[in-house]
């Protein structure tokens, strides 16, 4: 008998955990999405039906949830890009010590998980919270602005939590782009906007795409932030799926909603891959 390869033996537990416990359930999800559960019952009927998808497609409620989710995720991505770019650019021009310190500071909320920062945000955004209190003390407003329970609070929360996911990949890419390049272009007579358009933007585009994909997918599937900061009044696709899975207990329907989310993420990934290919093609062209 041949002795098994030690490398294979060492890899087996990890491959089992990832393959069977993690990946296989995604396959099951696709199957259960085609099953059904009669209203009011908890017994799943294991026969093929498109009912769940028809139900999603036919109800305006889900379309609105979808639209709101995509809108919030897109807005989060754009805001993270606009805020993250100057910060990343600032970061790569500093000495190593400053950079390490600022990077560590940016990572602090990520290390604290999803819930604890959200708990702090509730106290910032509430009617008697820090933001409204400060604005009132400055005499800018008389009555509190409601941030909780609507899109604005959720957007603030999403940008807040996912900004590091944009800054870090951007900083990695910008780091490979020497400042001297910019100076050279300027000294050759290029104006600042032109340097931006012709030098920085094309070279930073891969990092922007990578960060945008990370932030967009994170925002799309986030359910703690919309649930807590929306105070249950704002339905996004992920909170709807959570409700169906954990509260209504209609698992086939929740599966179908999850499959739709997965498809959206796949589409976003495909879009980014196409964008990357177009960039490469543009680079090769003279």
């Amino acid at each position: 008998m041949k002795r098994p390869d030690p490398a294979v033996l060492l890899l087996t537990p990890a491959l089992l955990l990832t393959g069977v416990v993690f990946l296989a359930p995604f396959g099951l999800l696709v199957a259960t999405g085609f099953w059904s559960q009669p209203k009011g019952s908890l017994i799943v009927e294991r026969s093929f039906t498109l009912d769940n998808y028809v139900r999603i497609a036919a109800d305006l409620y889900y379309w609105r949830g979808l639209g709101r989710t995509l809108g919030l995720s897109a807005a989060t991505t754009i805001l993270c890009l606009l805020i993250g770019f100057p910060v990343a650019q600032w970061l790569v021009r500093r000495a190593r010590r400053t950079r390490a310190l600022v990077t560590a500071l940016i990572l602090v909320p990520l290390v604290c998980g999803a819930l604890l920062p959200t708990l702090g945000l509730v106290n910032i955004l509430g009617t008697l919270g820090v933001l409204n209190g400060t604005l009132k003390a400055l005499g800018l407003i008389d009555r509190s602005i409601p941030f909780l329970g609507n899109d604005s609070g959720i957007l603030i929360g999403l940008v807040q939590s996912f900004l590091p996911l944009m800054i870090l990949p951007l900083a990695t890419v910008l780091d490979r782009l020497p400042v001297s390049l910019e100076e050279a272009a300027m000294s050759l007579g290029a104006t600042r906007p032109k340097v931006w358009r012709r030098v920085i933007l094309p070279l930073a585009a891969p990092g922007m795409l990578a960060g945008a994909l990370l932030v967009f997918c994170a925002a799309l599937t986030s359910f703690v932030t919309p649930q807590i900061l929306g105070q249950g009044k704002v339905a996004t696709f992920a909170t709807i799926a959570y409700q169906q899975a954990a509260l209504v207990l209609d698992w086939p329907f929740a599966s179908a909603l999850a499959v739709v989310m997965l498809a959206l993420i796949g589409a976003a990934g495909l879009l980014v891959a196409l964008g990357r290919r177009a960039l490469l093609a543009a680079e090769r062209a003279p």
Partner: protein
């Protein structure tokens, strides 16, 4: 003129960056600050400060038991993840594997695919197996989502080792496992500790997966906190506990950083 203009731009840029960093840190800062607010409901500026929510936190059996659950689950999941991840990282780092890229990509799947989608699937499988909310079920799920971190950290740790070292030990007569234990292991100890700490943190903080597969017996602190927030809003006791958790995490990171610095210095 131009120099003045660019200095103004630089100052503006500095100010913007500082503002963004403050904004990113503000939720954590406010979480800690508001734990010292005396009133039941937080208002800014607070009318009085006190430590009573910290006292209440230590007295609350309900929160204490959920913190204990989180700690236990985190420790078992981290141990599992470190053992399995280290085993997998060893051949991957030495490059002794066919289809290495594909295997690495597969092992990183829990980082790239959305956990909420996975949780909806896992919930159904766990219900079918009858292990929803059980200790084993939670540990298995947590070990799975922490595995990619361990594998990544350990591949980096092993990659820094001269493979001849292990070969030398063996040629001097050490059996493979002894060579690993006496030569390789001490060198990758910082990596092991880092991946254990990271795994524990990911497990301890997890709310997505745990809320879906939660039962009534093993309730982790994030699950308790989430359901509390969703149904009744902010409980000031959770602010005090949150502040202490954040303090503990930051302290652990700081201590780890100091230890690893000293480690590097003594080895250099």
């Amino acid at each position: 003129m131009i120099a003045g203009q660019s200095r103004g731009r630089g100052l503006l840029w500095d100010a913007f960056t500082v503002l963004v960093i403050l904004a990113v840190l503000s939720p954590i800062a406010v979480l800690i600050f508001s734990a010292f607010n005396d009133g039941r409901a937080f208002r800014f500026p607070p009318q009085a400060y006190s430590l009573r929510w910290f006292e209440a936190a230590f007295a609350s059996a309900e929160y204490r038991s959920s913190l204990a659950s989180s700690t236990l689950i985190g420790m078992i999941a981290a141990a599992l993840s470190v053992v399995i991840g280290t085993m997998a990282a060893l051949p991957l780092a030495r490059g002794a594997v066919r289809r290495r890229r594909a295997i690495e990509l597969l092992l990183l799947a829990p980082l790239t695919l959305p956990l909420i989608v996975w949780s909806i699937a896992l919930l159904q499988i766990y219900a079918f197996l009858g292990i929803n909310g059980s200790l084993g079920g939670l540990v298995l799920a947590h070990a799975t989502i922490t595995l990619p971190y361990t594998v990544r950290i350990m591949i980096a740790a092993f990659a820094g080792i001269d493979p001849h070292l292990d070969a030398a030990a063996r040629s001097l007569g050490a059996p493979p496992f002894t060579a690993f234990r006496r030569v390789t292991l001490p060198i990758v100890l910082p990596g092991l500790l880092t991946s254990a700490a990271f795994s524990f943190l990911v497990s301890f903080n997890d709310v997505i997966v745990s809320t879906f597969i939660a039962g009534s017996r093993w309730i982790t602190f994030p699950v308790r906190l989430y359901s509390q927030l969703r149904s009744q809003g902010v409980d000031p006791i959770t602010l005090a506990i949150g502040a202490m958790i954040v303090g503990a995490i930051l302290l652990a990171v700081l201590v780890g950083e100091l230890i690893s610095k000293r480690w590097k210095r003594t080895r250099a």
